[in-house]
């Protein structure tokens, strides 16, 4: 008796469905609340190759929703723990491990080898990056996202169908929509939404049923109500020629930062520092720190003369957002120098020195 009998005996799935699964390659981006249920089912059901991508470690506050992890796993790498547990669950699966986050530089190279991507991330920049990379490579991706007691599911870019940008053309800024860390999520909701994602992935791979393409499933846990919203392809969104130069910083931790308080004491310590203020000339004229050199965000190329002579460069703007982008750009341009974003920017500094 084969281990997959219970599904191969289904008339609409059959041994053909199983064969398709065993030959399929799926990349799961994010090993958190959504990624874990997706993986557990795809692995159990016999998907041949699974790509696992995440760089986080397991923290105590993950355990209420990331139910594969135990207290013994705290402090360990998610990637390593998932690999161990998934290998024990199904020794026939081939695993590719990516000890990284998805970035503009690795996205196309990584995704090109897969049939399907599962977006199990927790932030907009990576979701938009997955969308654009999948559009360029003509790969479908299964989308899942959460907000509080609510979850959204869809399959984008499936056989020339609508994309994520057909629903949401513009990426929201970090301030306008909170993520799970700020907003919270009820532990069981990612389990439900991730399991829906696994179901859609299986349907895409085995070509059964009606794939959730051109439809956004909205699930409200509090009322147990599901709504499906239909939407159409905007053909412009398929005309993408390359990735954006730049997706917003993926996560505050990725950009090295210093608190305004620490920076303030650094200024007081009389160490010679290089500080670049990336606000507009007008804003700079209005109020500035005397140590600062003004190089507006749109003309960062003029910074080279200052960066070249410094070991470490601090970057400031009004609120800390533009300077975060600037640090990201600088890091790419000058990989050998150290850059720090000043958190909270001039707004915060103003509260420290009245």
């Amino acid at each position: 008796m084969s281990r997959y009998t219970r599904q191969t005996q289904l008339k609409d799935f059959g041994p053909e469905g199983q064969k398709k699964l065993s030959q399929s390659k799926v990349l799961v981006v994010g090993l958190g609340g959504l990624g874990l249920p997706v993986l557990q089912y795809l692995n159990a059901m016999g998907v041949g190759t699974l790509g696992l991508m995440d760089q986080d470690i397991i923290e105590l506050h993950n355990l209420q929703r990331q139910v594969l992890y135990t207290e013994h796993d705290l402090g360990r790498q998610k990637l390593e723990v998932v690999h161990e547990k998934m290998s024990a669950q199904n020794s026939q699966t081939h695993f590719n491990l990516y000890d990284t986050f998805l970035t503009k530089d690795n996205a196309l190279e990584t995704i090109k080898d897969y049939d399907l991507v599962v977006d199990a991330t927790d932030n907009f920049p990576t979701r938009y990056l997955i969308n654009d990379a999948c559009v360029l490579l003509k790969k479908p991706f299964v989308y899942g996202a959460l907000h509080g007691f609510e979850g959204h599911v869809s399959v984008f870019n499936y056989q020339g169908g609508p994309t994520y940008r057909c629903l949401y053309p513009n990426m929201p800024s970090a301030e306008e929509v909170p993520n799970c860390n700020e907003n919270g999520v009820l532990g069981v909701i990612p389990g439900i939404i991730g399991t829906f994602q696994a179901l859609e992935a299986i349907k895409v791979l085995t070509e059964i049923g009606e794939v959730l393409s051109g439809k956004l499933l909205l699930f409200d846990g509090l009322s147990q109500q599901s709504t499906k919203i239909g939407f159409k392809l905007n053909p412009k969104n398929l005309e993408l020629k390359k990735l954006q130069d730049f997706y917003e910083p993926l996560d505050c931790d990725v950009v090295p930062a210093i608190t305004a308080e620490d920076f303030q004491s650094l200024l007081g310590s009389k160490t010679r520092i290089t500080l670049i203020d990336v606000r507009t000339e007008e804003e700079f004229m209005d109020r500035n720190l005397k140590e600062a050199i003004n190089i507006p965000l749109d003309s960062l190329e003029h910074a080279s003369v200052h960066v070249d002579t410094a070991e470490t460069v601090y970057v400031v703007c009004q609120s800390g957002k533009r300077s975060e982008l600037a640090v990201k750009q600088f890091q790419n341009q000058y990989p050998n120098k150290q850059f720090f974003n000043i958190l909270g920017g001039m707004n915060k500094i103003a509260t420290l020195c009245p």
Partner: protein, 84 residues
Amino acid sequence: MTILLFGITKDIVGAPTLSVPTASITGKKIPKTVKELKTFLGNTYPELNKLSSLAVAVNNSYAEDDQVINSYDEIALIPPVSGG
């Protein structure tokens, strides 16, 4: 006209649904299109204006700004959500 709210719009309004008058006794403009509805809601809840992408569904279909809306339509505000 009842509007179903999802994601952050639910938090902004503080309720899962929102009622918009379809007849006016005060002479206040009644929204006739999706765009007018967005403006109307944005005046009452300025936080909504900050959303760079906000999908509106009319009768379970994604609606463009110029779509005409009627009092019997089922309308939903669906902002992007990011949690995972």
